[in-house]
Symmetry: C2
């Protein structure tokens, strides 16, 4: 209802922008200067008209017969995605998944900084991961009081995820990036983005059965 | 175009079924016997009419005024999702992310079995992960020739992902579960389900900016 933004952008479009961004970054690093919407479409497995429609919502990036300037389009999407802002994050759950996320490439370059890592496991507490010491989860609430953190990452087992999320919410976090197989619902007060790993596998499994039939 | 299935089910519906399934499994393990569509909706952050519409596509599960029988609905969804079939999987990339996936809970109980783990890193080759020895990636192609594998999991760095995917496709794999930040496109010959981790974070970051404004 706010008048701040001209037109709200559909979540489906938002979800495609990072895909465009990643691909344009690869092209740019390879020295490619321009690309047509049909080439982009082929590489990304969407239709050219979809790409033109998505990008037209943010301004006039393409030129008929020339295509898109890779560098310009990449920068424009980075701006739309807010990659020029810094986002500070904490992570709860320093097991394999947590470590994988912490070490995921390119976070820093895109403005994402992990400021604190927390766990309950005494074997993990005190370990160094990517230059930070894993802290006792009992210190998380205080840490959030003393540091302005934007995003809380949950890579704990499902049993602990809701408790951690509650600490995040009370600590004033604005978004939760949740990898645990639980549903978190804070009805808009805090944004939740789920990476539901097993749901993704079940979807693939269903599609395989549909397409190829069961193995018998 | 095939007449085998009465009506194809939208991917958006398929993606919600595992969410329903997971939640019903939790309810069932807590001894809950029935649930209304509005309770389900509230817990899962979707609308009750969405749930009724989704589930009505697969049969008549609910009873007006009574709701859904948790056990029946759970079993029915498991069947739709093909969880009564076994899916054999191999994984390439035995770093933190790969190990996290291999150790993800409940895979076996849902019929997903990891049959082989492969990596290029000599420090990882020979290590035991979840009862299997990590093998040299150079053995992957032969392994696929000698074993009927349904799903190939890619948890390698982006640079190796396309090469691994090509080995999977040549090896007769039917679906690729891809965690690497690259676009794989085999135009329907092989199904690809992506878990694009950084795209998910960029989406969250965009939504935070939209909702709360930049930190400045």
């Amino acid at each position: 209802m706010s008048k701040k933004k001209e037109k709200p952008i559909a979540v489906s479009v938002i979800k495609r922008l990072p895909v465009y961004y990643r691909f344009l970054t690869t092209l740019h690093s390879k020295g490619v200067e321009r690309i047509s919407s049909s080439e982009l479409a082929e590489k990304l497995g969407v239709t050219a008209s979809q790409i033109r429609q998505d990008l037209s919502q943010f301004g006039n990036f393409g030129q008929r017969g020339y295509g898109y300037r890779v560098a310009n389009l990449k920068e424009a999407i980075a701006k739309i995605l807010g990659l020029d802002n810094q986002m500070d994050m904490v992570l709860a759950g320093a097991g394999n998944l947590g470590k994988a996320i912490i070490n995921y490439p390119n976070f820093k370059r895109r403005g994402f900084y992990i400021k604190g890592i927390f766990d309950v496991n005494p074997e993990l507490i005190g370990q160094e991961v990517a230059g930070l010491l894993v802290q006792d989860i009992s210190l998380l609430a205080d840490f959030l009081t003393n540091n302005r953190i934007d995003i809380g990452i949950i890579t704990t087992p499902p049993e602990s995820a809701v408790d951690v999320a509650d600490i995040f919410v009370r600590g004033g976090i604005r978004g939760i990036w949740n990898f645990a197989p639980v549903s978190l619902n804070y009805s808009g007060k805090v944004l939740v983005e789920n990476v539901h790993i097993s749901e993704s596998l079940l979807t693939l499994s269903y599609m395989i059965d549909e397409k190829f039939g069961s193995k018998s």
